[in-house]
Amino acid sequence: MEKERFLSVDWQSPDMNSGAVADQLPRPFLDLGWEQPVHHDAKFESAISSLVSSPSLNPSSGNGSVVVRELVGWLGSICDSGDISQTSCYSTPLNSPPKLTLPVLGHRQQGGGGLPMPGNEMADGQFTGFAANPGFVERAPRSSCFGAWSYGGLGDQSGLPEAGNLSRVPSSHSLKSAGALQMGVPDNGKDASKSNPERIETEMRSKLGGGMPPSSTSGRTMASGAANNVSKRKAASRGRGKEAPLSSSNVNSPTAAEDEHPDAKRCKPAKTNGADKDSVVKQETEQNIGASQKKGKENNAKPQEPPKDYIHVRARRGQATDSHSLAERVRREKIGKRMKLLQDLVPGCNKITGKAVMLDEIINYVQSLQRQVEFLSMKLATINPQLDFDLETLLQKNMHQEHEPLPQQVYPSEGTSTAFSYAQQHQGSPLQSAITNGLGVGQQPLCPFDGLADATSQLGSFWESDLQYVVRMGIGQSQGAEFFSQSLHAD
């Protein structure tokens, strides 16, 4: 699944990079870098969308976008000191967030010492790709923290982890770099000029300088600012109409709150629609925002999603995200729920696992119930005659069973006696009267016996079929009465 996603993301580099040299380096880590944001922390959204928005704005200035990307990648990698030694760019960013606070500070202190040296070499090697911004390279080492970050980032063995680590940057509590980046890049992103990279650098430096010393509160404020920027940027990018290819209802409606609930369905069109950069990145970032934790994301139930046009399902990690499989998954879960209900109903099914066996059990149980009904009806056919005077007690008993026990036990006997007397007299009308009386009796716990009409009307409203006629008319040759009597009488 990851491969699919990042293969579809591959389009980014060809579109954006004009420089051949610049292409090669940023492309791999960019593509793979997007991988992790897809899965991981939510606050990547701002950074990544900033990255994407700026390149998308400046398709011609591929170099600038490349630099921006690399910059972000460095920052990310810097913050991810714990993972710097990791070779794989797919290392879980979730491992990093807890360590991010320390590394960021640690880098400042240690990065100047240990890292810059090896980092310098790497930096040089990687800076070759960043032909567009030698100035950036020069400025980078100047700011202590930024230099540490850049070196830390460049200390990675490949370019891949940088962009991947970028995703981890915002996940740290001290989102200084992320905040700085977010503050800086969006502004740059909106500006289509080619001076983006330089502006980004300066802004980053300033923000970094401001961001580093303060405690994590600044990072948080930056994070919140980032969130605002995210929504702003999203609105801006949406306004540009780049989201048009996407399912409009999904993409245009989301707010910052909704960003936290990315849809797998939104992912799907983004995945397939390779031509739309903003959409892809936005969705990925949205996904990032949506999942502060991977597991939390998996556990999010579908009903928690804000109601939209159709059922939105979040794709769990490692599962297919196309609409067919999602619908299948929804259906399977529904079926599973109902099977559980049936398991509770059918006695002795707790140990059974497996649908086929369960189905057989259910079938057997239904058959046994139907056979029981048949057998009991045979029995009742033989033991009938005593029912006249036993009916009262039976009715009382059943009333107790089915309704709350009430002191109105006199009424049932009245009702039944009247029913019987009627039954003896006529054929058609006693049925209705019996029914109305019975209904009145039946409604006894619910309403006074005098309120027979109320009871019947209640029932009538509830039951829209033929019985309504029976209930309301009480007389007459309504179809319902006929059918009812027919159903009860001989063939």
């Binding site: 239904v366 119930l369 045979m378 008993k397 001989a490």
Partner: protein, 132 residues
């Protein structure tokens, strides 16, 4: 409500056909049981609707002819291998449902059936062994 309906129907059956055989009466009682079940379940349930349709138009056989036929005639042999075929045959109206709603209807049908069985059993017990 189930109790009242069924008891009423039961008494009516006994009153109106005192001379018929036990077998015929038992069949009528069984139909009364199912009818009262369906009535108490209400029109919300597909199985109750199917049951009532079957009962109401059983003799007329004019309207709902297609429906009653499809409900009554054994539709397809289980050579198709669908796991729910047996269940479809058992639950009234089950042949025309998708699997998901079939399960739901089955659950409701089982609940109603068990209520009916309990009711009839209690009637038999209360009448006691001294019947007729």
């Amino acid at each position: 409500m189930l109790a009242f309906r069924f008891l009423r129907a039961l008494t009516l059956v006994h009153r109106t056909t005192p001379n018929s055989s036990n077998a015929a009466r038992s069949r009528r009682i069984q139909r009364a049981a199912f009818a009262s079940m369906a009535y108490s379940a209400g029109p919300r349930r597909a199985w109750s609707r199917a049951l009532l349709c079957r009962f109401h138009f059983h003799r007329a056989r004019r309207r709902c002819a297609g429906r009653s036929r499809t409900a009554g005639v054994p539709r397809r042999p289980s050579t198709t291998g669908s796991p729910a075929d047996g269940l479809r045959r058992l639950v009234p109206g089950g042949t025309e449902m998708d699997y998901c709603s079939l399960l739901e209807e089955t659950a409701d049908y089982i609940r109603c059936l068990s209520k009916q069985v309990k009711l009839m059993q209690s009637i038999v017990d209360s009448v006691g062994p001294g019947g007729r």
